[in-house]
């Protein structure tokens, strides 16, 4: 092992009511690529924010070249040679590519005139290094998402960081771009840069990383151990504390069940083409695909948020046009559990009861549209009870509940509304394993009672657990369909095969 550039020793971070990290350690060695793994909510982002100075640890210490150090903000970490490629888009959309890449350089001074020619020349160097053929004077908002991601990497490189954090850098890259990126990372490693690589794709981690730290529920499941001899299943076991287990649920046959939702040759202005999709009564159809494949967009088009401009949509055998979301909910009884529950699914500053009841207000309103808590409570409360939402009272503010309980409420809301088709988008992101299993059972029960469910998830075990049929989407088209046999290895291979067949073509 080479010398240790950066170390976090026994760090903890507490938020009101949550221990995000407890006594976590990690060592980053010169000239190596270190994987940071963990499920959603395991504390990866918190650890990254500690390393980059966004948060300060409540306990423990950070060491740079063996010396204790304190970061009071991102600037300090940056000055210490720690660069980050963030998961979210962190570019200024109206600025040029070059100015975005070199923004850190100008952050120190306020009145030294900016020399754009110099900036573009400098930025070009880093773009060339990534093999990215983009004019540095072009506006960032004119780039595709994948190119923006590469610009972010160029931005981090431009700091000549000794430690480079990459948070899901390949999430929006094509296989081709990923290969180019990996070649670059290897080159940087040989130049002595120490990298921390966060990814959900275990294949990538195995192919490029030298050592690994795994977090589970805010603790070290393993700390800075060598990747040598670790197989995929070992990593999974470290991440979730057991091997991937698919519940032994009986296979169900829906060939005879009446279709609830039928899409025929549907196209949307967003780019969907030739979408043929059927969801039958009581069936769970999984829609798998990489991020950006157009799954959420399809769901929102079905909900009437985006228009459908080709093909036909049938509900219970009748051709319909869903003009807006209110129509979808009240007339057609379709529910949508958003992947982004904080932004789109719930009104965090409102109470449990208000959130659970929002979709039925119209139905339970009395004369003159008068709405009483009592009438909402009568309808909504049984479902909140049934889902075992842990809340001190129905008047609790939803924002104060845990992620799992929040998600239960966004499901309860649609149960109360009595939908016939429920579209569930990434239902268990950021939710602990126990609640996750519970939500899975819940969705299964719901389908057993006759609700048709369209499940969108990027979580392969979840998909294989729940779905009766799996439809794979790639680049706004359907790539194929698989009958779910619940054999994890065979199914995941089949899904990946469908995705890559299209990507390679």
């Amino acid at each position: 092992m080479g010398e240790i550039v950066f170390e976090a020793r026994g760090v903890s971070k507490f938020f009101p009511g949550v221990k995000a990290l407890e006594n976590v350690s990690i060592k980053l060695t010169k000239g190596s690529i270190h994987a940071l793994l963990g499920e959603n909510g395991a504390g990866k982002s918190t650890l990254i924010k500690l390393i980059t100075g966004v948060y300060r640890p409540d306990e423990g210490e950070l060491l740079l070249d063996g010396k204790p150090t304190n970061f009071f903000g991102p600037r300090d970490a940056m000055a210490a040679g720690i660069g980050v490629v963030h998961q979210e888009r962190n570019l200024i959309p109206r600025f040029s590519v070059g100015e975005n890449i070199m923004l850190e350089q100008s952050a120190g001074s306020l009145f030294k005139p900016i020399d754009y020619r110099q900036i573009n020349a400098d930025a070009k160097k880093w773009l060339d290094m990534l093999g990215l053929d983009v004019d540095p004077s072009m506006r960032v908002s004119q780039l595709s998402v994948a190119k923006m991601q590469l610009v972010e990497i160029a931005k981090a490189l431009s700091l000549r960081s000794r430690v480079l954090l990459l948070d899901e850098p390949t999430a929006s890259l094509s296989p081709h771009e990923t290969i180019a990126l990996f070649a670059l990372l290897k080159k940087l490693r040989d130049e002595g840069v120490s990298m921390l690589f966060v990814s959900h794709k275990l294949e990538e981690v195995q192919s490029i990383c030298d050592s690994v730290t795994v977090l589970r529920d805010g603790h070290n499941a393993c700390e800075s151990r060598s990747m040598a001899g670790l197989g995929r299943q070992d990593l999974v076991k470290l991440m979730i504390g057991r091997s991937e287990q698919i519940p032994d649920w009986a296979a169900r046959d829906f060939a005879a069940a009446p279709p609830v939702l039928e899409l025929k040759d549907v196209a949307t202005p967003l780019g969907h083409q030739n979408i043929d999709l059927t969801v039958r009564k009581g069936e769970i159809v999984g829609l798998y695909g990489l991020i950006g494949a157009g799954r959420t967009e399809l769901a929102k088009s079905i909900m009437g948020l985006f228009p459908v401009n080709g093909g036909s949509v049938k509900l219970d055998g009748q051709a319909v046009t869903i003009g807006n979301v209110a129509d979808a909910i009240h007339t057609h009884r379709i529910g949508y559990v958003s992947e982004d529950r904080k932004q789109e699914g719930l009104i965090l500053m409102h109470t449990v009861l208000d959130n659970a009841g929002i979709a039925i207000w119209r139905r339970v309103a009395r004369k003159f549209g008068l709405l009483t808590d009592q009438s909402v409570r009568v309808t909504a409360e049984p479902f909140i009870r049934k889902l075992e939402v842990r809340t001190p009272s129905l008047n609790q503010i939803v924002g104060n509940l845990s992620g799992g309980n929040q998600q239960k409420i966004s499901v309860a809301k649609w149960l109360a509304a009595g939908v016939r088709l429920l579209i569930v988008d990434e239902p268990t992101v950021g939710i602990d394993i126990k609640t996750k299993a519970y939500l899975h059972e819940l969705l299964r029960d719901l389908s057993n009672s006759g609700t048709a469910i369209l499940l969108i998830t990027s979580d392969m075990p979840e998909m294989i657990t729940l779905a009766d049929r799996i439809v794979v989407m790639n680049d706004y088209r359907l790539a194929g369909e698989l009958h779910n046999t619940r054999d994890y290895a065979a199914m995941s291979e089949g899904i990946m095969h469908l995705i890559h067949r299209v990507a390679a073509a």
Partner: protein
């Protein structure tokens, strides 16, 4: 042609030129030296008011107290000359300082408390206006120095008012700030994506405070120029700036969410408002209609901006 059409200043420039030709064709006195002088006087002061708001729009906020700061600086300027007998330049510098402090006060509370700029500047609007009335008892200061009055009333090179000079300087400096200086780029970066700006090492609170201080400075300068133009220190100076301060930058393509403003197009926005106001006078249209026209102009400008945005978004989709 495509890039010309996309430039912020192109649309307003076309409107300005067409409006001038159209009005002059119906009423040749529109281009008389006197009328040009009146127009330029209005444009000079209004430009400063518009820039004062534009800086805050750039950072993605709004400043309701632009007029109150300008008014406070204006009566301070006149009052210091009348009551303390200070020479014009000294009084002007002190009044500008009051503007900077008032703006900084806004910025400090916004950055420190995280309360929206709307609420903070609504409160400070009341505070600054209250101070103004407490000092003046709602009576104007008449003791404005002759040199200041002359500066506000005389012209050079024919119809060019001297007041054009401070406005032109402010224009050049504002343009330079927003396009060439790191501070100005930081303001736009924070307006475009505050999170990204912070992660790039830009201090968001400091940038917010600086933007508000600059806004206060420009508002104070506008107040001082208005004292010179009106020849007295009116306590009501600034009361009617609010709509104009938003109208001109918005006509100039500013994005109210922040991150994008155009200095040049904002000047054209000011010119359009001045020309139309003037035209209403020339055609003997009820002056009270000016407000209606101004409101319609804002709606039109916002509509055009939105339409352009949608078009650009469509043409860029899925490259």
């Amino acid at each position: 042609m495509q890039s010309l059409w996309r430039a912020d200043w192109f649309g307003p420039l076309v409107v300005t030129v067409v409006a001038i030709i159209f009005i002059a064709a119906f009423n040749p006195s529109f281009l008389s030296p006197l009328n040009i002088q009146v127009l330029l006087l209005a444009i000079s002061v209004n430009m400063l008011i518009a820039f004062s708001q534009m800086i805050i729009i750039a950072i993605g906020q709004m400043n309701l107290s632009v007029g109150a700061i300008g008014g406070l600086a204006a009566i301070s300027f006149a009052g210091m000359m009348e009551v303390w007998g200070l020479p014009g330049p000294v009084a002007a510098v002190l009044a500008l300082l009051i503007g900077v402090v008032a703006g900084f006060f806004n910025g400090f509370f916004i950055a420190w408390t995280g309360i929206s700029a709307f609420v903070i500047t609504l409160a400070s609007l009341s505070i600054f206006k209250g101070l103004n009335l407490a000092v003046t008892r709602a009576q104007p200061f008449y003791g404005v120095l002759e040199s200041v009055k002359a500066f506000g009333a005389t012209t050079f090179l024919g119809p060019l008012p001297w007041l054009l000079i401070p406005a032109a300087i402010a224009f050049v400096l504002t343009w330079y700030l927003l396009n060439r200086l790191p501070l100005g780029r930081h303001i736009l970066a924070v307006g475009g994506n505050a999170h990204a700006a912070e992660l790039s090492g830009i201090s968001v609170p400091r940038t917010i405070m600086a933007a508000h201080a600059i806004s206060g400075l420009l508002a104070a300068l506008a107040g001082i120029c208005l004292v010179a133009r009106l020849q007295i220190g009116q306590p009501t100076i600034g009361d009617d700036w609010l709509i104009l301060s938003f109208a001109a930058p918005v006509i100039g393509g500013a994005v109210l969410a922040g991150g994008h403003v155009s200095t040049v197009a904002t000047v054209l926005g000011v010119a359009i408002v001045a020309i139309i106001t003037q035209a209403l006078v020339l055609f003997h249209i009820d002056p009270f209609l000016v407000q209606v026209v101004l409101g319609a102009l804002i709606l039109w400008a916002v509509g055009v901006n939105r339409w352009r945005e949608v078009r650009v978004a469509r043409s860029l989709k899925r490259i």
